[in-house]
Symmetry: C2
């Protein structure tokens, strides 16, 4: 638990998914004034971003959505932004490497750090967790540590990267969220952007597994019962 500091500002990178929704609420519970930022980097659909805006409105949290799709002329090869098929089936390395956007988290963190500097926040909350360590190099503790180091010295004012769930699983994150009484129907995880979550893509499966591990059912509506 981070010690409460009245009125201290933090930036939260907030995608609208269940992990960063929990991180956002964790930052609020830690007593900070939260500035949430979401990035539109060419995700296949806008559901996550819409859900993110609604959740921030409900929480009374300042929220910016920044359209950075122009950077995709530099980045290529990810099924999250390109026309490659999204892998169904389980969330495992062999299937998921195609969802890696080159250097995504360094890019998003560098923008969030710039935002923190400009509003005089000295911390960025970032929802890396252990479930992604195998697949995404930029979710691993050594990456977060290295980013935290460089963000101490890149500007006149030091900014720290705080990843409250860095060594925890998605189920652990959910446990903290349940403890905080969060309503996960205000989140979106599915890689598809239809009315209801598909329940079949790897992101849905991982989410459902986290709920199942606590013997809970997901409050989100799904197209197909698992």
């Amino acid at each position: 638990m981070v010690q409460k500091t009245k009125q201290e500002k933090v930036v939260v990178i907030y995608s609208g998914g269940m992990d960063s929704f929990t991180v956002l609420n964790r930052a609020l519970a830690d007593g900070y004034q939260v500035f949430a930022v979401s990035f539109h980097y060419g995700q296949r659909h806008h559901r996550e971003l819409e859900v993110a805006s609604e959740a921030c409105k409900k929480l009374g949290v300042e929220h910016k959505v920044v359209d950075i799709r122009n950077i995709n002329q530099l980045l290529a090869g990810s099924s999250l932004t390109d026309d490659i098929d999204i892998p169904d089936a389980e969330y495992a390395t062999s299937n998921m490497t195609s969802t890696v956007v080159p250097n995504r988290n360094m890019i998003l963190l560098s923008l969030a750090i710039g935002y923190a500097v400009s509003i005089k926040a000295n911390k960025v909350y970032y929802g890396a967790h252990s479930g992604d360590h195998d697949i995404y190099p930029d979710c691993r503790p050594e990456f977060v540590e290295a980013m935290n180091h460089v963000s101490q010295i890149a500007n006149y004012d030091a900014v720290s990267i705080h990843s409250p769930y860095l060594q925890q699983s998605k189920a652990d994150i959910l446990a903290d969220g349940i403890k905080m009484g969060l309503d996960y129907s205000q989140t979106w995880t599915c890689y598809n952007g239809r009315d209801k979550a598909c329940g079949r893509c790897s992101a849905c499966r991982e989410r459902l597994a986290a709920f199942a591990s606590h013997g809970l059912s997901d409050p989100l509506e799904y197209e197909a019962a698992e």
Copy 2:
């Protein structure tokens, strides 16, 4: 001098100014296939970017210009992008801190690293030099070293940051460019975007001082003789 490796690709962050023009040519002289990238982040004028495109065309170098002005909704407080007066007079800390864009170089490097990953280049050339160390934290050796560390581990493939002039002055950079026979009329340095360089802003003064230190006159046309 870097050893030549036939066909190896590198990304060069290229603003159109004299330092990065020299870096671009240094990368070519080092034997690399160069992919130049310029960023439009809301500079007051487009002269540098236009000059950059022309120079790349002449050199036959692939050049991308990425419009990232949307990120300015996160960043504030710099006279290079805002409506604050540009400091005339000498290029010194007290005058120039207002030209600091929050976290600029981490942002630009993270994008260049993403580009490198996507085209399978393993190096990014970045023109930091010692003249900027006092003013810009993100031009200092410790920053470049920290960025180089994180860029080794952020993706499946390691990318190195190469700053050939990190410990050298602007005059030293110019000396290398003169040795390479470069034509500096193909560069733009002035903070103002008029037909001719103003000769009075701090960037012009620093540039003119570099030429003067070699007993040379700048081939660029100036509004006012110094």
